[in-house]
C-alpha cells in the first residue's frame, strides 16, 4: 500500500482521487480538507515539505505539495484544485515553518491566496506590482518600472517618467 492509499484509508472523505505524479504517489484532496490531510500526512511520518507549486490551467488552478518522509524514505504528493478566478486555500505554515516563503512565492507569482498565512506579501517582486506573472493571462505588454522610494522601499509605476535619466 503506498502513501496515497494510506491517506485515503485514513481520510476517505477528504481524498477524492489517487494517482501518480510520474513515479510518486499522489492524492488529490478537497480544498477544505487540505489542512487535515496535511496534518495526517505529517502524522504518518512525512516530515519534509519539499516544495509548493502553483500551476494555472486556465479553467482551474492547481497547487501541488511535494512531501517526503526522511524516516521511511517515501514520497507523497498532495494536490488541491482551486477555482480559477478566486483561488484560495488554507496555509500550511502552522505545520511546516518552511511553508512560509514557499507560499509567499506562490502567492506572488501565481496569485493564490493562502488563508491564515501570517504575512502574505510579495517576496520576489516588489510590493505594488500589477498581476501575477505565472498566470497564463498575465499582461506582458504593459511595461512596469521600479524606482526607489523615500524609505528605500520599491515603488512600482507604469510610466517611465519618474526614472532617473542621465542628461
Amino acid at each position: 500500500m503506498n502513501a496515497a492509499e494510506e491517506l485515503k484509508k485514513a481520510l476517505p472523505d477528504a481524498v477524492t482521487k489517487i494517482g501518480m505524479q510520474c513515479n510518486k504517489p499522489e492524492a488529490t484532496v478537497k480544498k477544505e480538507d487540505l489542512l487535515d490531510a496535511a496534518a495526517k500526512a505529517q502524522e504518518l511520518g512525512f516530515d519534509q515539505l519539499s516544495v509548493i507549486t502553483g500551476v494555472d490551467y486556465e479553467d482551474r488552478v492547481e497547487v501541488i505539495y511535494n512531501l517526503f518522509s526522511y524516516e521511511n524514505k517515501h514520497n507523497l504528493v498532495l494536490k488541491v484544485i482551486l477555482d480559477h478566478d478566486n483561488p484560495e486555500v488554507d496555509s500550511l505554515t502552522t505545520l511546516w515553518k518552511g511553508a512560509d516563503w514557499l507560499e509567499r512565492e506562490t502567492y506572488d507569482l501565481v496569485g493564490i491566496k493562502f488563508t491564515g498565512h501570517p504575512n502574505l506579501t510579495r517576496i520576489l517582486l516588489p510590493e505594488g506590482w500589477n498581476g501575477h506573472p505565472l498566470r497564463k493571462d498575465y499582461d506582458m505588454e504593459t511595461e512596469q518600472f521600479v524606482t526607489i522610494g523615500e524609505d528605500g522601499d520599491d515603488v512600482v509605476s507604469t510610466d517611465g517618467s519618474n526614472l532617473l535619466r542621465r542628461k
Binding site: Q48, L49, I64, K97, G98, A99, P133, L134
Partner: protein
C-alpha cells in the same frame, strides 16, 4: 537603561550579502531584535522564461541560477526531462556527469569557505581557494569551453566526450587538492578567533531544521544525516562508496566542518569514478530512433530529436546539489514547450530559517551565521 529601537538597512549592496540581498534589522543597541529579508533584486523570471522556450532552450538558463556550481543545475533539469520522457542515458555519460558534479561540489565549497572567512576579516583563505578553483575551472574549460555557465549536460547524455589529456590533468588536481584541503584545515580549523566567531553562533536544532525545510550541509550541520545521494540514489551514486557527513552541534562551526568533510568525500568519489569509468563506445540506438547519419556518431549521448515533444504529464525530481536539495517540477502538455517549470532552489529554502537563527545576536554574528548558510542570490531570486 531604556534605549530607542533602531532600524538598520543592510544591503542590497553590501560585501557580505554575497550578491544583492537586503536585511531590515530592528536593533536594540547592538542586539538584533528582528531581521527581515528583502529579496528579488536579481529576479529574472526564469520560470516564466521556461514557459516561453522549447525544452532545449531552457537549459542554458539553468546555468545562471546557481552560477557557482552550474553542473548540478544542468543535471537536475535534464534529469526531469529524462524521467518525463523515459530517455535512457549511456553509462559512460552518467560517470562523466557525476565526475563534473563532484568536481563542482569541491569548487562550491572552496568558494563558500573562502567568502565566509573573508566576511570574518581573514583574506588568506579566499586567495588560496581561488588558486585551486582556477585549476578546476580550467578543467571545465577543457571539457566544454566554458568556465562557469557550461550548458554541457544535455538530455540523453553529455555534449562531448572527455577530451584527450583530461584524466591525467584531473588526477594531478586531485593529488594537489588533497594537500590543499589539509592546508585549509591547518589554517582555519583550530584558529582561536575563528572558533570564537563560529562556536554557538546561529544554532538551529535538528527538529527545527527539518521543519524549516533546510537541506544540504546546512541541515547536516544540525546532526541530521540526510543526503539525497543516499536516500534516493540517482545516476551512479548507488555504486559508489562514500558517506554522508554530518555534525551534531547545529552551530556555524558544524556547518563549516560539514563542508570540509564533504570535500574529502568528493575527492574519494572522484577517484572511484576515474578508476571505474567505462570505455568509450559508439551509441547507436535510442527510444527516439536512430540518429540521422550526419555528423560524428556519439559515444556519450543517445539521440535526442531537435523537435522534442515529451508525453503530457508532471514530474518533480530533485538532487543533492552542493547547497542542498535542488528540485525541478515540470508540467508538460505534450507540446514543444514546458507548460510550467518550477525551480525549488536550495538557497531560497535555506534562507527561510535565517531570521529565526539570528535573533538576539549581534550584527557581526549575523554575518557569520549567514556566511555558513552558503547561498547564491542567482539561486534565491531566480
Amino acid at each position: 537603561m531604556q534605549t530607542d529601537e533602531l532600524l538598520i538597512n543592510m544591503g542590497p549592496v553590501h560585501p557580505s550579502t554575497h550578491g544583492v540581498l537586503r536585511f531590515k534589522l530592528r536593533m536594540d543597541g547592538e542586539i538584533i531584535k528582528d531581521c527581515q529579508l528583502v529579496l528579488g533584486y536579481l529576479h529574472r523570471g526564469t520560470e516564466k522564461l521556461g514557459e516561453m522556450k522549447t525544452y532545449q532552450q531552457v537549459l542554458p538558463y539553468t546555468d545562471r541560477l546557481d552560477y557557482i556550481s552550474a553542473f548540478p543545475n544542468n543535471y537536475c533539469y535534464v534529469k526531469a526531462i529524462e524521467e518525463l520522457a523515459g530517455i535512457e542515458v549511456p553509462l559512460r555519460a552518467e560517470y562523466i556527469r557525476v565526475l563534473v558534479m563532484e568536481l563542482n561540489r569541491i569548487v562550491n565549497h572552496i568558494v563558500s569557505i573562502g567568502s565566509l572567512l573573508m566576511d570574518l576579516g581573514a583574506a588568506t583563505m579566499i586567495m588560496w581557494g581561488f588558486r585551486e578553483r582556477e585549476k578546476a575551472l580550467q578543467l571545465f574549460e577543457m571539457l566544454c569551453g566554458a568556465r562557469m555557465t557550461f550548458n554541457y549536460i544535455k538530455p540523453g547524455g553529455v555534449r562531448e566526450d572527455l577530451p584527450e589529456g583530461f584524466i591525467p590533468k584531473l588526477n594531478e588536481f586531485l593529488e594537489e587538492m588533497e594537500m590543499r584541503i589539509k592546508d585549509y584545515e591547518q589554517l582555519i580549523n583550530s584558529n582561536e578567533i575563528f572558533l570564537m566567531r563560529m562556536n554557538g553562533i546561529g544554532v538551529i536544532s535538528a527538529k527545527d531544521a527539518i521543519n524549516h525545510g533546510l537541506t544540504g550541509p546546512t541541515l547536516r550541520g544540525s546532526g541530521v544525516n540526510h543526503d539525497l545521494r543516499k536516500l534516493e540514489p540517482y545516476s551512479i551514486y548507488h555504486d559508489l562508496d562514500f558517506k554522508a557527513c554530518s555534525r551534531p552541534e547545529g552551530d556555524s562551526y558544524a556547518r563549516y566542518m560539514v563542508r570540509i568533510d564533504e570535500m574529502w568525500e568528493s575527492l574519494h568519489i572522484l577517484r572511484q569514478v576515474v578508476d571505474t569509468m567505462p570505455e568509450a563506445k559508439v551509441i547507436s540506438t535510442s527510444k527516439y530512433g536512430v540518429a540521422p547519419m550526419t555528423g560524428v556518431p556519439s559515444t556519450v549521448s543517445t539521440y535526442f530529436p531537435r523537435i522534442f515533444t515529451p508525453p503530457a504529464g508532471e514530474v518533480y525530481t530533485r538532487i543533492e546539489a552542493p547547497k542542498g536539495e535542488l528540485g525541478f517540477y515540470i508540467a508538460s502538455d505534450g507540446s514543444t514547450k514546458p507548460y510550467r517549470v518550477k525551480i525549488r532552489s536550495p538557497s531560497f529554502c535555506n534562507l527561510t530559517a535565517l531570521s529565526g537563527m539570528v535573533k538576539g545576536l549581534k550584527i557581526p554574528d549575523l554575518i557569520a551565521a549567514f556566511g555558513t548558510m552558503d547561498i547564491v542570490l542567482g539561486d534565491v531570486d531566480r
